[in-house]
Amino acid sequence: MCADTAIKQQPVPAGGDILLEARDLARHFDVSKPWLNRVLERREKLSLKAVDGVSFSIRRGETVALVGESGCGKSTVARLVVGLYGLTRGSLVFDGEDISDLANRTGRQAASLRKRFQMIFQDPYASLNPLWRVGTIIGEPLRFFRPELSSADRRRRVGELLEQVGMSPMDALRYPHEFSGGQRQRISIARALSNEPEFMICDEPTSALDVSVQAQILNLMRDLQDEYGLTYLFISHDMAVVKHMADRIAVMYLGRIAEIAPAEALFANPRHPYSKMLLAAVPSLEGAGKERTTIQGEVPNPVHPPSGCAFHPRCPHANERCQAEVPLLIARDDGSEVACHGVEEGRIE
């Protein structure tokens, strides 16, 4: 499709060295029925384009957020970056090394690369092995990446990590079910920190938590970033959380990026009609009693995405070009990139 041109127009962000560069990432899932059913029912193969041509780059020490509604592919991007899924198309470069084949690299040979990043997951109840003690869970990356460590050293390190995330070294002896959701998320963070990664992928790390606990976890993540100079790829559906955490924000819709912009710029002046709608839909505490501007319609089924710009059926500015032609990300003066024909043509301010 438009992949090749998209790459050419991907500008290199100014300043700072790039830790991760994602070019034209795509991941299609086969969602067709089993072979026998397909033959009998004469159905075509169906593929779900969960991510289809996503390019972005992350500078060292920065927090880039991917935001969007369910089904926009933001979590898939996170899993592509850490190699949980293989790439259907595109390339990933991590600190100068091509890691597009990361999904196939496991075991010892990949250890030197894989120890440089880690992931924090959404569900604090599913992200810890229920049969293991907390100490064993946090020590797992250590056992794998630093087998030379004696078990006493490892225990000491686990104790330090627990203290670092605001827990007690004694908690290492307990099991995950003895802890609240917020404490489990701290344990997850301690595990992720144990191999001293540079890059942390956070997939909705607080959306399963209560707001007061969310504040604790977000503060903790910021403190850790300051202390270790961590780089975050932060996935969330919550605009307010993203605003609080991110330096730059990519708004995703149906497997593509609609707009990437510095956080301040996006919130002050969203360009893409979808970004505008998302921002308008955030419930406001300040204007209690006032109704939000409601967006019409819902996210369409990603197996059968609309033609052209996927957002056109819900867009108030859509015209014929939007229905026919997929818009590309185009860089603007203020450091943002927008994929919208209307913005490109100047129809939309």
């Binding site: 899993r79 075991g107 990949a110 810890l128």
Partner: protein
């Protein structure tokens, strides 16, 4: 930095971890066990029958497998009778060979339980291995294994066991039949029973594989073998053990059925099923005890193991708690 465990939300400051025994006695399982008289009775019956089978040589008045110990003259002694000829006491009577029915039941349940346990372990190991592979690797392996399982499920398991039994016996010389009867039984019952383990393990594996703790291990780059055996296998064992308990009762019945049909244990080494087959010839000629007592023993064994299995399933089911 917040210290969540300093609040009363967490447990009181670092208590001594309770001993394993105390923790077990305080667990939900023991609590639930104590509340259910039926389960307590089933446990006791099971334990008594297991003990009887295990210690049969020390409990039984005679060894029913040893023809030299049988007193043909005491044939058809009714229960609770002392023989006028030999002075032997027959608690549950004797059969046409002068075999003590009580001893025969003890030795017979030994064989029934041996076949039952071995068949369950065989089916469990096979089913778990195939289920893990199908669920973890997916793709054509999954399709192949599960289609075989589907096909096998369309046959009743007894028919399956009969078929496997017949095929294996066909390959062996007739002279070996009696010797290998027990192994043939175990393989026949085990092979006809692996499907349910495979299905349960496959389903549980696919659920666990998608959980984030497994993904966390994959992000580290842990090899598949380690993920499978350290993370997934221990977490899918719970449903397997429940099925195994209920499967034990089913395997005991399957063995009895095969032996009853005459394709299982020979009359010289009778299991409970063989005893019932032998006993039914005398049902209408007045020697009812030869049939009744082995039948009751089989019923009690199968029923109490089954009740235990049902209870275990309920108490281990996270949804019901």
């Amino acid at each position: 930095m917040s210290q969540e465990q300093k609040t009363p939300a967490a447990a009181p400051a670092v208590p001594k971890p309770p001993s394993k025994l105390r923790a077990f006695l305080d667990s939900d399982i023991v609590y639930s066990w104590k509340r259910q008289p039926v389960v307590i009775v089933a446990t006791l019956v099971t334990l008594v029958m297991f003990a009887g089978a295990l210690f049969a040589p020390w409990i039984a008045p005679q060894n029913p497998f040893d023809p030299r110990q049988l007193e043909l003259i005491d044939a058809f002694t009714p229960p609770l009778t002392t023989s006028d000829f030999t002075g032997n006491f027959y608690l549950l009577g004797s059969d046409s060979q002068g075999r003590d029915v009580f001893s025969a039941i003890l030795y017979g349940s030994r064989i029934s339980l041996l076949v039952g346990f071995a068949a369950v372990i065989f089916a469990l190991a096979l089913g778990t291995a195939l289920g893990l592979m199908a669920g973890f690797r997916g793709g054509w392996r999954d399709a192949l294994i599960m289609r075989i399982a589907d096909v096998q499920l369309t046959f009743p398991s007894i028919l399956m066991a009969l078929l496997i039994f017949g095929v294996i016996r066909g390959f062996l010389p007739r002279s070996m039949h009696a010797e290998v009867a027990i192994i043939v039984l175990i393989i026949a019952i085990g092979l006809s029973d692996w499907v349910q383990y495979a299905r349960a393990v496959r389903g549980a594996t696919m659920v666990e594989k998608g959980k984030e703790y497994v993904q966390a291990a994959r992000v580290i780059g842990l090899p598949a073998r380690k993920i499978l055996f350290q993370h997934i296998l221990p977490n899918v064992m719970r449903p397997v053990l429940v099925i195994g308990t209920i499967g034990l009762a089913l395997a005991i019945i399957a063995e009895a059925t095969l032996s009853f049909l005459g394709v299982g244990m020979p009359a010289t080494q009778p299991s409970l099923g063989t005893l019932i087959r032998v006993g039914q010839d005398y049902m209408f000629s007045g020697e009812w005890w030869i049939l009744l007592f082995p039948g009751v023993a089989l019923l009690m064994l199968a029923l109490s193991v089954n009740l235990l299995g049902d209870w275990l399933r309920d108490v281990l089911n996270p949804k019901l708690r």
